[in-house]
């Protein structure tokens, strides 16, 4: 369980009294998939950084599995918008990089890395360098790298944002396939409402100025999902309305209440 209680954040140099976001209460159940959407500047990526332990809140408490997050933790993996692959390492070594840093057994990790590559239909590219891959393939390698340490929590910061629409869709399907084999809690920041509807169990909508959770929307559709279906379109429409149309003053954070009602 990931929990944020009355969390506030401000950057150094931010005007006194102003916050990136404040009063954020959120509870994310184990092995659930939560997407965070919202307009630019509402603090989505900063929130993810707090969960990753790369930044600290100025108030409130962030915890994962009951332990307060005070720095990058084992079992939590972060995936970025850009693949950030090491140009001097081949695909397999890039995937094994987290294990190398952790000083873990690379022999066993190599087998799992190759299995992950096979699941992404990239088993023939293990010895390729990142420069030899397309953007979509590089991001698939980054996904394998994020999963190779078998994290309990996967944090994704607009992971498919730099890809074309078709590749985004394929990546989403791959992520689902990988999660079916090895489920983990996923928190994904995205600008794509459709992506959130396709992938997430719940969608957290954040509002800017000041940043806060405006609403949490339960998706509740069976998988595999199809955006062409009326229910999917309806949820996407609801999210769009919450993000763009609903007045800021009228919004009420209901995250904790929803979490309580869904266990």
């Amino acid at each position: 369980m990931i929990e944020l209680r009355d969390v506030a954040h401000r950057y150094a140099g931010q005007a006194p009294g102003s916050h990136t976001f404040s009063g954020v209460d959120l509870a994310i159940a184990r092995n659930s998939f939560v997407a965070i959407v919202g307009r630019s500047g509402c603090g989505k990526s900063t929130l993810l950084n707090l969960l990753a332990g790369l930044d600290r809140p100025c108030a409130g408490r962030v915890s994962i599995a009951g332990r307060e997050v005070d720095g990058p933790a084992a079992g939590v993996s972060l995936m970025f918008q850009q693949p950030n692959l090491l140009p001097w390492a081949d695909v397999l070594d890039n995937i094994l990089f987290p294990l190398k840093i952790a000083g873990e057994d690379l022999g066993a990790g190599r087998d799992y890395a190759l299995r992950l590559l096979a699941l992404c239909e990239m088993e023939d590219y293990a010895a390729h360098t990142p420069q030899q891959l397309s953007g979509g393939m590089q991001q698939r390698v980054a996904l394998c790298r994020a999963l190779v340490s078998r994290p309990a929590v996967l944090l994704m910061d607009e992971p498919f944002g730099a890809l074309d629409a078709l590749t985004r869709e394929l990546m989403g399907e791959e992520l689902q396939r990988l999660r079916e084999r090895e489920p983990q809690t996923v928190v994904m920041v995205t600008h794509s409402i459709e992506e959130a509807v396709l992938l997430a169990d719940r969608v957290v909508v954040m509002a800017p100025s000041p940043g806060r959770v405006r609403e949490v929307v339960e998706v509740g559709l069976p998988r595999p999902r199809d955006l062409a279906r009326a229910e999917s379109r309806e949820i996407a429409q609801t999210l769009r309305r919450i993000i763009f149309e609903r007045p800021v003053e009228a919004a009420t954070p209901v995250a904790r209440a929803l979490e309580a009602s869904h266990g």
Binding site: G53, L54, G71, S77, N84, P87, P98, Q131
Partner: protein
């Protein structure tokens, strides 16, 4: 019709050949005295006649060059790592580096010889002083240019500072380090010649001054040609080393980083 790539690789050879032909023609056409400006054929003849002398002095120069260059590598790389690791140290060391760099090494050479004697040491010291500055700057720049996202990745993986340095920053700085090495190697040749002008009884720098003292200009030009060849070989040798050891770094450099 030659391909553009072949034309591009032939262009420097043709331009050098063109200069040599024009040079030879001018000397012959205007009957220029050999002690003022020897013709390329006269320089080639001097190289043939004094091959043994040139070889002995080349070995002497190469020894000093190698010692000075290696010393500059051994000092510059750790110094650059320290500068990149600590803002305080960078603030403290940078002014000293600039002061050292701003001192004319030709002026420093006689002072060093008085202080260190007429042994190999002052010549190595001068070569080192000329060569190490660009390597420090290039390496520190490379280390500090590491993309923030890569460092964020390392932090998220709980990498130690040493792991960040060894597994991310240093590999990322490889193209910068090799650029610095190329500049330093060619500057080392200048450094060693300056040192040999002032204090040596061997070496190509010494050979040039002694040849000019006897108006043996073709031999001086021959020594200068060997020095140029050493410089070019060092430059391309380091490039070849980069290509062999770190082929990925060439595409990274081409990508403009």
């Amino acid at each position: 019709m030659a391909s553009p790539r072949l034309a591009a690789s032939l262009a420097p050879l043709l331009s050098i050949l063109g200069v040599i032909v024009v040079w030879e023609a001018c000397v012959r056409l205007f009957s220029v005295d050999s002690f003022l400006l020897p013709a390329p054929t006269a320089i080639a003849a001097a190289m043939r006649e004094s091959a043994d002398t040139l070889w002995d002095n080349t070995l002497f120069t190469l020894r000093t060059l190698a010692a000075g260059f290696l010393l500059s590598v051994c000092v510059a790389l750790p110094l650059a790592i320290l500068i990149a690791a600590s803002r305080w140290l960078a603030a403290a060391v940078y002014p000293l580096l600039v002061i050292i760099q701003s001192i004319p090494k030709v002026a420093l050479a006689p002072i060093l010889i008085v202080a260190m004697g007429t042994s190999e040491a002052p010549r190595v010291a001068i070569t080192f002083l000329v060569a190490f500055f660009p390597l420090v700057i290039a390496t520190a720049t490379g280390l500090l240019q590491t993309p923030a996202d890569l460092l964020r990745l390392a932090r998220s993986l709980r990498a130690s500072r040493l792991q960040q340095l060894l597994l991310i920053q240093l590999p990322y700085a490889v193209p910068y380090i090799f650029s610095g090495l190329k500049v330093s190697a060619t500057l080392s040749v200048i450094g060693v010649v300056v040192a040999e002008f002032v204090a040596a009884d061997h070496g190509l720098g010494y050979l040039m001054t002694s040849a000019m003292a006897f108006f043996n200009t073709p031999l001086a030009y021959a020594a200068m040609t060997v020095l140029s060849l050493i410089s070019i070989a060092a430059f391309h040798g380091i490039g070849l080393l980069q290509q062999l050891l770190f082929p990925w770094s060439l595409s990274q450099a081409q990508a403009g980083q």
